[in-house]
């Protein structure tokens, strides 16, 4: 076991330059330039804010490792949130609402999986389609209005604490550990890089590759549902365009984290770093009171720089 861990550790070290380098650099800059930055409340602030994105980025890592993509995940999140809200309002029962939200998320995830695995439609297009469908449903269900009147209890999911730890962090941590376990300690996880790297091999090994693929997209949808839960609680409301476009943030986080779009090369911890880096960047720029326009440019630069550093690493190898 030990040398295995070591081996993993080394490969991890090998990966670090790209994203972690940027993260450290940003941290140094902001800490030195803004007194408010490196305070405990602000840092926990950053982490809490990153929780929702992480929930999307983790399954996105799996999906990208299968040489796939899920553009619908942001819209599905929104739809889950809308469903949650309307069920909560109409029935007044939160548990029911949660189940409904997770169910709709899972359903869309599996729908993606089915379209991609069985209809053989390329993921980009398939999820572009379901993106439209989910977004449309949000608008139709709400007629553009945001839904309010949530039971107050909902509020605590985002603002509550467990043993002094903000609840979103607890959820995010659990999600990370779970996904890590799946990826590195289960059959399903073993098949993720196989789907991206050599699908034939999987078939010859007698694995039902389509089913595995569908399950992976299903997980994506489910996590979107959980994220929807957090977002709804954060707003005590649901809004039909609340998380539109978040899928791209998630994909960017994964890419920044060093996961490749080809051959099933991926790294879950990198994704965590990627998410935090984006959070740190936005928060730091805010504290530095930069004009919003400059913040926009910086997000773009972050993506490019991180990927470029990764590229350099590849060239050196």
């Amino acid at each position: 076991m030990s040398e295995r861990v070591l081996a993993q550790g080394f490969s991890a070290l090998g990966r670090i330059p790209g994203v972690a380098f940027v993260l450290v650099a940003l941290f140094a800059i902001f800490a030195s330039m803004s007194p408010g930055f490196s305070t405990a409340p602000n840092l926990s602030n950053i982490l809490v804010q990153s929780a929702i994105l992480l929930l999307l980025a983790l399954p996105m890592t799996f999906i990208i490792m299968t040489e796939g993509l899920d553009l619908s995940i942001g819209a599905v999140l929104t739809l889950a949130s809308v469903v949650l809200a309307s069920v909560a309002v109409s029935t007044g029962s939160l548990p029911l609402a949660f189940v409904a939200a997770l169910a709709i998320g899972l359903a869309f995830g599996l729908l993606n999986g089915w379209i991609i695995a069985w209809l053989d439609i390329p993921p980009f297009v398939a999820t572009l389609g379901t993106l439209g469908i989910a977004q449309g449903l949000c608008l139709v269900l709400t007629d553009g209005q945001s839904i309010v009147g949530m039971p107050p209890a909902l509020h605590y999911i985002y603002s509550g604490y467990l043993l002094g730890i903000p609840f979103p962090l607890v959820i995010a941590a659990v999600a990370y550990v779970a996904m890590h376990g799946i990826l590195y300690h289960t059959r399903l996880g073993t098949y993720v890089p196989a789907l991206g790297g050599n699908r034939e091999a999987l078939r010859h090994a007698g694995v039902n590759d389509r089913l595995v693929l569908a399950v992976i997209y299903g997980i994506g949808g489910l996590m979107a549902g959980v994220a929807g839960l957090l977002l709804t609680s954060r707003m005590s409301a649901a809004h039909p365009t609340a998380a539109i476009g978040m899928e791209f943030d998630a994909i960017a986080a994964v890419a920044v984290g060093g996961t490749q779009f080809e051959r099933g090369e991926g790294w879950l911890f990198g994704t965590l770093l990627g998410v935090i880096t984006i959070g740190v960047l936005r928060n730091g720029l805010n504290l530095l009171e930069m004009p919003s326009s400059v913040q926009v440019v910086c997000v773009g630069l972050l993506v490019i720089v991180a990927l470029f550093l990764d590229g350099m690493r590849k060239v050196q190898e």
């Binding site: 572009l128 389609g129 469908i133 139709v140 890419a255 926009v296 993506v303 490019i304």
Partner: protein
């Protein structure tokens, strides 16, 4: 040997695969038109059809450049932001100099520059186009915001605005432009060695490179063209709306991609055509037009678009799998 008989039955289909793709789409257009003309007598009028074409032209200009990129198997997510940036810069220049020519040139140059940036990131820094152009999207958008600082620029010389809203022999000028560029584009893709090489790169870039195609410079070329076309689109936009704001580009990218995909261009590259893209854009425009004519709730629009995307691609898979089998 069995090769021959293996080949014979499928031969005809192979011959006309592109034709089939386009035929399917023309059929779809026809169907939509029939339905719309049945439910709304306002639909099948010269005015409305011209109006639809004019609206489709804007999509086409953006989508045509993007089609080239996608034919090489890459993607350009920055297209909307590029339109926004070049529109805003062009607008201010036209206002300050009063010369549409300088402004127009600027728009196209800026588009081309952004495209070049994308190209270099993909070819030199080896960043996947999806991410590189996503980064560029933010950079361009930020630049636009910074440049406009929340203001809007408006009121251009009539001569320039004719480009978007003018008529010639009763037909809107954008339609002429669209036709011209479609012919140019089809010539470029089907009747020049560049076009052949672009398709080849999309089909197998490694083989392309080892066959002496300067792959990187061709990739740069398509990204530049894509950007320049975005610049051109921004001019049409300005001429039509007679005003520019920072948020122009935001909502344009995904519909543009949808248009290309509905048009039958494969995201794997190597398969597709500009004419298909035109039809793709046309279908999207028809949907919007129909919804307005019937004053249907616009909320359904994304849903319908999504379904059409899936349907179109699914049909392609069906027809193509026939020809590509074994």
């Amino acid at each position: 040997m069995s090769q021959a008989e293996a080949v014979a039955p499928k031969f005809k289909i192979t011959l006309s695969r592109d034709v089939i793709d386009v035929a399917y789409r023309l059929l779809a257009v026809a169907l939509i038109c029939i339905v719309l003309s049945l439910v709304s007598d306002a639909f099948l009028t010269t005015n409305n059809l011209l109006n639809v074409l004019r609206q489709a032209s804007l999509v086409f200009f953006m989508a045509s450049g993007l089609t080239l990129v996608i034919l090489t198997g890459k993607i350009d997510l920055s297209i909307g932001a590029t339109v926004g940036l070049s529109a805003c810069v062009a607008a201010t220049i036209i206002k300050s100099t009063g010369s549409p020519w300088i402004g127009g040139l600027a728009a196209i140059c800026i588009g081309a520059l952004v495209g070049l940036g994308n190209g270099l990131m993909v070819t030199k820094l080896r960043i996947p186009s999806f991410i590189a152009t996503y980064g560029m999207l933010w950079v361009a958008q930020g630049a636009t915001y910074y440049y406009m600082s929340g203001q809007s620029v408006y009121g251009f010389p009539p001569g320039f605005r004719a480009l978007g809203s003018g008529y010639l022999l009763g037909i809107p000028i954008p339609i002429y432009l669209m036709v011209v560029f479609m012919l140019l584009g089809n010539f470029f893709t089907k009747r020049t060695t560049y076009g052949q090489q672009i398709y080849a790169i999309g089909a197998n870039s490694v083989a392309g490179r080892l066959s002496g195609i300067p792959v990187n410079s061709r990739l740069n070329l398509v990204f530049i063209l894509s950007g320049a076309m975005a610049g051109l689109a921004s001019l049409i936009y300005l001429a039509r709306l007679n005003s520019a704001e920072g948020d122009i580009g935001e909502t344009l990218t995904l519909p543009t991609i949808a248009a290309v995909v509905i048009g039958g261009t494969s995201l794997f590259g190597g398969v597709g055509s500009l004419f298909g893209t035109f039809i793709g854009g046309l279908i999207l425009t028809l949907i919007l037009n129909g919804m307005n004519l019937l004053s249907l709730n616009a909320n359904w629009q994304p849903l319908v678009t999504g379904l059409i995307v899936l349907l179109a691609v699914w049909l392609d898979m069906k027809t193509r799998s026939k020809t590509d089998s074994n």
